[in-house]
């Protein structure tokens, strides 16, 4: 058990190191002259020289990477010139809005996705099953930017029931959260269905029924608990989908989170902010998936170490 935890920790640390190399290559090596890119357009030559010196851009790449990594560890991601403030602070200020949106979408994913999946599996082959499956296929096929716009058209423009942009209270959260959740809800519903179907055909389920357990107890207590394992991994992996989806959803609904920030930052060529968002979101993904993996060993005593 301890060996497994240590192994996963080591793996995650390596991945994070790789993340830093990747970001370094994209934003410092790919562009020919990073100092020019990291500065606002029309910056004086003296500022370019100053940044060159500061980032060690005249040094060999490996030394530059060392300087870059030291900055990251010290929480120094450079200055956002769009906001004239440390890039890290600019990004962190936008985090609560994104987290709120992601949590709402995650709640929808778990609640709706798992219940649709269970309902379809328990009533396999009925119209309930087909409806659920059709809904799930549809949910995976609608582009979220289009779904968002159609929701705006229906509930905002035509019916005038809900606000369609901005960030002021829970009513503003409904449309963006539904938009962001559509894809993961569909995915989780399908996965829950197939996972439940597999478990429901097992012998111990028949034993449970034979000894007179109610259907409810069989499904919820005995089947769901075992079917939850693959579902849990996929939910963990959806953190990436949610962070990525937030980029588009936030842009559609003018939601002032990290995703909208990064899109705006591109148009202002605010690369310190882009770099910060990339590193933070990759780190969040790695850490949360590590947590899911470790959570496994608690939920499923069969998984120990491998």
């Amino acid at each position: 058990m301890r060996a497994y935890v240590l192994h996963r920790l080591w793996q995650s640390a390596l991945t994070l190191l790789g993340v830093s190399v990747f970001v370094f290559v994209i934003l410092r090596v790919l562009p020919g002259d990073p100092a020019k890119m990291l500065l606002p357009e029309g910056a004086p030559q003296s500022a370019v020289e100053e940044l060159n010196r500061q980032l060690g851009l005249r040094e060999p790449l490996i030394v530059q990477y060392g300087i870059f990594l030291r900055g990251v560890f010290a929480g120094d991601f450079g200055q956002s010139f769009q906001y004239r403030a440390p890039a890290l602070r600019v990004v962190v200020e936008r985090l609560p809005a994104t987290i709120q949106l992601a949590l709402a979408a995650m709640a929808l994913t778990v609640a709706l996705g798992v219940s649709i999946g269970i309902a379809a599996a328990v009533r396999r082959g009925t119209c309930c099953d087909y409806a659920g499956t059709a809904l799930a296929v549809l949910g995976q096929s609608l582009p979220n930017f289009w779904l968002g716009i159609m929701l705006i058209l229906l509930f905002g423009v035509a019916l005038r029931w809900l606000p369609t942009s901005g960030f002021a209270g829970w009513r503003h959260l409904i449309l963006p959260a539904v938009t962001l959740a559509a894809f993961p809800v569909a995915l989780v519903a399908r996965l829950t269905r197939s996972s439940m179907l597999e478990i429901l055909s097992r012998e111990y389920i028949r034993t449970g029924r034979a000894k007179g357990l109610t259907e409810r107890a069989v499904v919820l207590r005995h089947a769901l608990r075992n079917a939850a394992i693959p579902v849990l991994t996929v939910i963990g992996l959806q953190i990436g989908t949610l962070l990525g989806g937030a980029v588009i959803t936030e842009s559609v609904f003018a939601w002032p989170g990290m995703g909208k920030l990064v899109v705006d930052a591109i148009f202002f060529r605010d690369f310190p902010v882009v770099q910060t968002v990339l590193i933070l979101s990759a780190t969040a993904f790695v850490v949360l998936n590590l947590a899911v993996d470790l959570l496994y060993t608690v939920i499923d005593p069969r998984i120990r170490y491998s």
């Binding site: 994209i26 296929v137 058209l153 197939s194 990525g244 980029v247």
Partner: protein, 285 residues
């Protein structure tokens, strides 16, 4: 379905109505884009300011512009048909490149093992840690929005799936007797890999490829929607959607039509992928 699938590929395919329906949808959209000049006489690029925001035919518009016109008076049907061309070619090229790179790296990792394997798999982990769209945004911002760069970004986001699947397949097959027999008979490593291992892991590649085509179309139109993909005045579904967003209250068809096209393609590719998966691995049903 427990019996092993038999018969020719055609008869097997016919057993999956999902795959057939999906394939049909895809072929339909591809044909419509390819035959655009035959299907419409309108120019997708030529503005006509006298006919701005004309409604679709049957909703107050004329048959000259069946789906209406956009904010510059351009025919929406023509833009939809021509707009599919670049999107579909970009997505298909990205899938092919991703599959090629992924399969080669997967074969390499699975056959070489040891450090090479560990390195490839760690790189895959790193790749997966970034939300695809954010990675794409950062790269496009640095290297620009030309179509080649777009294909590169899309392909970069897709190789991991193939590599992991192929690697697992190679590991499972490598120890089998027929592979050992081939090695004993003096077949070179390369021959074993390409002649004996690759053909047996090819089915999942097709499944991944067709589902991934859906993802690539979504990703490309998402980037174009954000203004980071195909650039105006080229017609592109994502871009048309973004332009239509400003006219929701008085010309809702501008944003509706391109979204429907994207959904059709993605639905088709998803159905095809699911159907193929059922055929390849009936236990997942």
């Amino acid at each position: 379905m427990t019996a092993a699938p038999t018969g020719s590929a055609g008869t097997r395919l016919a057993r999956s109505p999902m795959a057939v329906a999906g394939g049909f949808l895809l072929v339909l959209v591809v044909l419509a884009s390819a035959l655009a000049p035959l299907l419409t006489e309108s120019d997708p690029l030529k503005p006509s300011f006298g006919r701005r925001l004309a409604a679709p035919w049957g909703l107050g518009g004329s048959a000259a512009h069946v789906l209406g016109t956009d904010n510059l008076g351009r025919d929406i049907l023509a833009r939809l048909l021509y707009g599919g061309r670049l999107s579909l070619v970009l997505a298909a090229s990205a899938v092919l490149i991703a599959a090629l790179v992924g399969v080669l790296l997967g074969l390499l990792a699975g056959s070489a093992g040891g450090r090479v394997d560990a390195l490839v798999m760690r790189v895959a982990d790193v790749q997966l840690a970034f939300p695809v769209i954010m990675l794409a945004i950062a790269i496009v911002a640095v290297v620009g929005t030309n179509p080649l760069a777009l294909v590169g970004v899309l392909a970069l986001s897709g190789w991991v799936l193939y590599a992991r699947t192929i690697r697992a397949g190679v590991l499972a097959i490598r120890g089998l007797e027929y592979v050992e027999a081939a090695t004993t008979l003096g077949a070179s490593d390369l021959r074993v890999i390409f002649r004996h291992i690759l053909p047996n892991v090819v089915a999942p590649i097709l499944v991944i490829g067709s589902s991934q085509f859906a993802t690539m179309v979504l990703l490309e139109s998402g980037l174009s929607f954000l203004g980071l993909g195909i650039q105006a005045p080229r017609p592109s579904w994502g871009l048309m959607l973004a332009e239509g967003r400003d006219y929701l209250s008085n010309a809702w068809w501008l944003a509706t039509a391109p979204g429907l096209m994207i959904s059709l393609v993605v639905l088709g590719a998803n159905l095809l992928g699911d159907g193929l998966r059922d055929l390849v691995d009936p236990s997942l049903r």
